[in-house]
Symmetry: C2
């Protein structure tokens, strides 16, 4: 039904996560309406992407240089390392603007179902960093999922002699006690804080 | 915070309708993960888009040839013309698979707030089609919005001597009477059908 160049674009957009066939159509139509200039800019950005982005040598965060912006910043405290699943988590934590340590990006999470074991994650470089640098604390900032917890416990056992903490579990701001799930509520109780 | 090639892509994606900054980040990360091949295919589809798509000479529907797939189909009934706002509406109606007439795409809707009057719409070609062809019925398939209704009434006055209908207003399938808005319910009452 759609002209071929448009249905090609719809098909490509449809491959993106969270973009269903109807959304893909709407996006394609919007791109068509906004004209060739904007479509060209998006196409250029796509073509530049993989050519100019690599991993930070130290922490595996995304970077267009050898070191990412966190690792090359001399004011960051390298004795504290936050361990995250992927680069988007680094962005989320950086947004808080209250963390001055560095990161280590695992590049995934231990998930036997998906065939991902510890050897697929960036754990060897983590061991090396801990051995080479004077790391004093590791903050486990994996997601609060089954896989995230399993990965956290695995890393916990890797470094028996280092202070290891993880992000607090509890009620998210603005939530409603009434609608909180049982696990969240039980974690909030366990981790209750002196007031 | 993000490496430049990635933030460039996020910025471009963020310009699309319904794609906020967080969604744009997620999409960009997904594109990054899926590798250069897929990003290149999307880029190619974008670059081909405007070069190969134009308007159907007869009905202003999108087409990569002179005539769109509806207009060049000899089995379509050219005595019935459905008038729609844009090409996406054609797709929606074609999906129903029960309409065998042809279309006329207005390319917009009368909206004084946005500075769009009748002269900006494809109405001159509509007049010509009606004069040249043996059009027997016009179906007004503009959206059930204030602007859609205004446009429908304008077109109604343009062709006093032709049978003109519009899509029925009423309760959508699967909806709940209890939650229907007043206008929809009043239209459903006015347009009640013999059972």
């Amino acid at each position: 039904m759609l002209p071929k160049p448009l249905s090609d674009l719809v098909e490509e957009l449809n491959k993106l996560p969270g973009v269903g066939p109807r959304t893909a159509e709407r996006l394609a139509m919007a791109i068509l309406r906004r004209g060739q200039g904007d479509a060209g800019m998006l196409a250029d950005a796509l073509q530049n992407l993989h050519q100019n982005i690599g991993e930070c040598e130290a922490c595996h965060n995304l970077s267009s240089q050898n070191l990412c912006s966190v690792c090359e910043n001399p004011r960051r405290n390298t004795t504290v390392v936050a361990i995250v699943e992927d680069a988007l988590d680094v962005i989320a934590l950086e947004r808080v603007e209250s963390y001055d340590g560095v990161y280590h990006v695992l590049g995934g999470i231990i998930s036997p179902v998906d065939g991902i074991g510890p050897e697929q994650l960036n754990l060897r470089t983590l061991e090396q960093r801990v051995a080479d640098q004077s790391v004093e604390e590791i903050i486990l900032a994996t997601n609060p999922s089954v896989e995230g917890e399993a990965t956290a416990h695995y890393i916990r056992r890797m470094f028996p002699n280092i202070r290891i903490s993880r992000l607090a579990r509890g009620l998210p701001m603005g939530s409603d006690l009434e609608y909180a799930d049982q696990i969240t509520l039980s974690r909030a109780l366990e981790g209750r804080q002196a007031l």
